[in-house]
């Protein structure tokens, strides 16, 4: 569904992304992992149009979407959540998601109908599916961090996407919030049929839900493969553990830091 080939981006001489490759099949859940600064968020920015690549291509459903601006990418039904919480601070939870829905329905050029009367059902449905319906009238400033991250996802869902990119969805969440988030991601994949690309630092989550994993180090793709392949790959061990012989067993090392 999504094919990223040899994509690169340099900032002032620093190669943030260096010939990275990524392939995501329809219906899959793919994780991108790598040490801090490996370029994962930059990669996501390149895919979603926030940054323009210096070279390389992004194909979505066989259509070339390289270099499209973010709102055009969104129209292709690719949605995204951000690593640092990026919501509309002065608006309520409901309004945050509602804008997303209104945007999808191309209603944002409507100057005269009160928004309060539009898209209520669709917005409520999304809020229900992520578990935020009860808090719909709260301003985002009053939400817990975990709830805000879930709101991020809800806003991404507003665009009725086929493809969802989640940038560290559980970062900063408490344990209970984390497991709820994981259940949500599983539900999105299984019940709603979304294809999901995400990145995480928590290896347990990664190995728990991903079908395939892509490992990024210093801007480039080291390997993309199944969980087993990645676990026992020497290059990955080199990058993470500095050349140890340990084969990462599940339940073993939970968090990898570079």
């Amino acid at each position: 569904m999504l094919e990223v080939t040899s994509i690169s981006k340099t900032f002032d001489g620093f190669k943030a992304v260096n010939n990275a490759n990524l392939a995501v099949g329809k219906g899959e859940i793919v994780a991108v992992i790598g040490p801090n600064g490996a370029g994962k968020t930059t990669l996501f920015n390149l895919i979603t149009g926030i940054l323009k690549p210096d070279s390389g291509k992004v194909l979505f459903n066989n259509e070339d979407i390289t270099g499209l601006s973010p709102h055009e990418v969104c129209r292709k039904r690719i949605s995204r959540s951000f690593q640092i919480v990026n919501v509309f601070q002065r608006l309520t939870v409901f309004e945050n998601v509602q804008i997303s829905v209104l945007s999808r329905e191309k209603k944002t050029w409507n100057l005269f109908t009160p928004s309060a009367s539009l898209a209520i059902k669709e917005t409520d449905e999304i809020l229900e599916s992520v578990g935020l319906l009860k808090k719909k009238n709260r301003t985002t400033a009053l939400l817990s961090h975990g709830d805000r991250k879930v709101l991020e996802i809800a806003m991404a869902l507003g665009g009725n996407p086929e493809f969802l990119i989640l940038d560290e969805p559980t970062a900063g969440m408490a344990a209970e919030e984390t497991s709820r988030c994981i259940d949500l991601i599983k539900k999105l994949s299984q019940t709603m049929g979304l294809t999901i690309l995400f990145c995480e630092h928590d290896m347990e989550i990664v190995f728990g839900i991903a079908n395939r994993i892509m490992v990024m180090v210093r801007g480039g793709t080291v390997i993309q493969g199944s969980c087993e392949e990645v676990r026992c790959n020497e290059a990955v061990q080199d990058a993470y553990l500095g050349g140890s012989d340990v084969c990462l067993m599940s339940g073993g090392l939970k968090h990898i830091t570079a």
Binding site: L111, R138, G158
Partner: protein, 314 residues
């Protein structure tokens, strides 16, 4: 909108309608000025408070609208009512042009470029004696008879201002308004949910320019004059002050700010020549103690005690 708010609004409008019956001419003139300044400040707030755009030189649109109307009235033989439409359209066009030029820049640079373009316009108006009257401006502008008395000018201003405020209110409540506020809060996020940020901001600038132009035309009706200082950057800063003083995340804040500033200025000027000093001190107090303006402060106070109407969680 709640019943209570509607009641107060209705009462306020009735008071405004009855004012000329009770007040002497000068005060009627003053309220007219307050109304149109309020309209002007609200139009600025449309892009500033609700859109997050650093519109540093809003006075340009006001002045262009005023000059546009004036030139139509004085230089052409066309029907006067046409002049009142052309003025705002010209300023809306200005909004579009300036918008297209400046919109690709981020925040402060947008403001700076707008200031330079605005200064260019001011310089041209200031020097083009034969066309715009230069630094003298144009006086004694012929206004159609039915609008020329202070009372009729007042009612005209009142009606137009109310209509424009209503329209702007509708716009803010609409999906476009929501999108605009989203852009204010987080332009990256907005792009990512499919909103073409630039286009939306451009439309907001055109609308703000239009309503500012309406305010300019109203000034021509009320004061029968037009002069280059209407386009000078210091006036832009005064409009900003009105928004800040009244509260720029609220809808009626700018109108309140305009009322306070005009009233204070008139009052203070009868006692002293040093209105600028007084205004400067007031501004400092507002910046330090009332950063959200008067209405912003009031809103905060009221919302503090509120318990959520929805179901509270454990």
């Amino acid at each position: 909108m709640s019943r209570k708010t509607l009641f107060w609004l209705g009462a306020g409008i009735i008071v405004l309608l009855l004012l000329p019956v009770f007040l002497p001419r000068f005060y009627v003139y003053l309220v007219s000025i307050i109304l149109l300044y309020g309209l002007l400040a609200t139009s600025l707030n449309l892009v500033l408070g609700y859109g997050g755009i650093f519109q540093f030189h809003h006075a340009v649109f006001y002045g262009v609208g005023a000059y546009g109307t004036t030139l139509m009235l004085t230089k052409t033989g066309l029907p006067p009512m046409l002049a009142f439409i052309v003025g705002p359209l010209v300023s809306a066009a200005f909004g579009l042009v300036l918008g297209i030029i400046c919109i690709r820049l981020s925040k402060l640079y947008f403001g700076m470029l707008q200031i330079s373009l605005g200064s260019l316009v001011w310089a041209i108006v200031y020097r083009w004696y034969s066309f715009t009257g230069g630094d003298d401006g144009i006086h004694g502008i012929p206004i159609p008879e039915m609008l020329s008395s202070p009372k009729s000018a007042y009612y005209f201003t009142l009606i137009i201002t109310l209509v424009c405020l209503f329209v702007m209110w509708k716009i803010i409540q609409s999906p476009f308004g929501s999108a605009l506020q989203g852009i204010r809060d987080n332009p990256v996020r907005s792009e990512m949910i499919g909103i073409n940020v630039r286009m939306h901001q451009l439309l907001a600038l055109v609308l703000a320019g239009f309503f500012a132009g309406v305010a300019g035309s109203l000034f021509v009706v009320v004061d029968n004059t037009v002069f280059p200082d209407m386009l000078f950057w210091t006036f832009s800063l005064e409009i900003l002050i009105m928004c800040l003083l009244g509260g720029w995340f609220t809808f009626l804040g700018p109108m309140l700010g305009a009322a306070v500033i005009v009233a204070l200025r008139t009052f203070v000027s009868t006692y002293t020549d040093y209105w600028a000093l007084v205004l400067g001190i007031i501004m400092m107090l507002v910046i330090f103690f009332l950063p959200n303006g008067i209405l912003g402060y009031v809103e905060e106070k009221f919302k503090r005690g509120f318990i959520e109407p929805e179901i509270e969680e454990q």
